[in-house]
Structures are given as C-alpha cells and as structure tokens.
Amino acid sequence: MVTLVSYIIVSAALLGIGIYGLSTKRNALRILFAVEIIVNAANLNFAAFTRYMNPPQVTGQILVFYSVGAAAMEAAVGLALILLAFRLNGTIDVRKLNKLKG
C-alpha cells in the first residue's frame, strides 16, 4: 500500500545519499551530483505532499516548477565554476582548491 509516508521515506533515502556524497566526495563534479540528488529529494516531497492534500492543491507543483528552474541555473553556474577552477588550477579536487586559505 503506497501512502504519503512511503514517499517521505524514499525522499529521506535520497537526501541521505546526497548528504553522504556531499560530505565525503572530493571531486567537485561528484559534489554537484550530490546537490542535484538532494534537490530531487525536495522536489519529490513537494509533489507528494501536494498530491495528498484535500482538496487537491496546485501550489506544490508550482513550487517544483520554480525549484527545477533554480536547479538548472545552479547547475549551469556550478559547471562554469568547475571549468574555471580546472583551468586555473589544473585540478577539480576540492581539498586542493585552497588558495583562499591564509
């Protein structure tokens, strides 16, 4: 039986996978993957909660619409930053990108 709780559990699992990637990976591209996974977990939650509202509401779908737009923007800027960091430093290992450290 699929209930709202099933969707919350899937979304929590996605969030956990994303946090794991965010906290342990050193490759900047993998960190971007993890961010996208977390954004997807949030979108899934929005869609699930708005579906289980009574009477049905459109608000959650609108929020997912904006969230997808913001995520696309964030990916474009993030990838440009990664390319720039690679061109300037020759590495995308985030532990080695420490020029700002005093």
């Binding site: 709202l4 709780v5 919350i8 490759n27 289980y52 997808v68 990664i82």
Partner: protein, 170 residues
C-alpha cells in the same frame, strides 16, 4: 492515478529501486561518465514518481530540464575536464567515508522514523479527483506571477554569469 496497467504498488517499488540505485551509482561509479548516466537514470525515476503522483507536467519538465539539459551539460563538462584527473582524485577518500556514511544514514533514518511515527496523523490516502494540467497555467500567470518574473531574471543573470566565467581569455 496513471497506472499503465501495472498496480501502483509494483510501479512504486520499481521506481524506488531505479531512483535509489541510480543515485548510489551516480556517486559510487568508478568512471565519472557512468556516474553521470546513472544520475540521469535516477532523474528518470523521479519523473516516474511525478507521473504516479498525478503531475504529468512536472514529469515532462523533469525529463526536459534534468535529463535533457543538466545531464548533457555535466557530460560535456566531464569531457572538458581531463579523464585521468577525475580518477586520481577519488583514490584517497575512503578514510573519511565511514563518518559521512554514518551521519547521512542517521539523518535519513531519523527523518523516515519521524514520518513513520507521524503516519497515522497524516492524511495517507490521496485526495479524490486530480487536477488537470490546465490549472497550472492560471496559477503560474495569475496567482504567482512575481516569482516567475524573478526566476526569469535570475536565469538570465545566471546564464550570462556562466558565459562570462567560462569565457577563454585571448
């Protein structure tokens, strides 16, 4: 609910497997490029969830923006960043992997536990009757026009910023 002739429980289980395995593979695959493809698979799984949640427009948007644009952008970036680079980076990350795994597992388990405890108090049955896709347009244009305009401004600013950042100085 769109069922495509499969019972909702079975499609939910299949979509869960596709989404979670895709997400894990995206982070753990040896080759970065396979990771990007697995990430696309995970996005398609989430699009499937949107379909069974009666949000076909969101499923279309998810596939067009995530699988069509973001994954392709990531693939191009992987090809621009040399390959041996990404392989040498990932060798020495096992040591701190355990702590991250425990933290993330604890977080996910606590959220899932709270949701399961609160389950009886949530409305667990989907509301009767679904919204037609044509309700989205008026809601976007009449109810919430300001966020739409701000989002458009932000996207154009971000794209110009991305172009400036990635420009090669000659």
């Amino acid at each position: 609910m769109v069922t495509l002739g499969i019972s909702p429980d079975i499609s939910f289980v299949i979509l869960t497997a596709v989404t979670l395995i895709g997400a894990i593979m995206a982070l753990q695959a040896k080759e970065l490029i396979y990771g990007a493809v697995a990430l696309g698979l995970s996005f398609i799984g989430v699009a499937g969830f949107f379909v069974i949640l009666d949000a076909p427009y969101l499923a279309m948007l998810q596939i067009a923006v995530y699988v069509g644009a973001i994954v392709i952008l990531i693939l191009f970036t992987i090809m621009l960043v040399r390959r041996e680079q990404s392989e040498t980076v990932e060798r020495s990350e096992n040591a701190e992997g355990n702590l991250g795994l425990w933290l993330a597992g604890l977080l996910a388990l606590s959220i899932a536990g709270v949701a399961a405890l609160a389950g009886p108090n949530l409305s667990v049955e989907p509301a009767a009757g679904n919204l037609p896709v044509s309700d989205l347009g008026p809601a976007l244009a009449i109810q919430y026009p300001a966020p739409l305009i701000i989002l458009a401004l932000l996207i154009s600013a971000a794209l110009i910023g991305g172009l400036v950042l990635a420009k090669v100085e000659r």
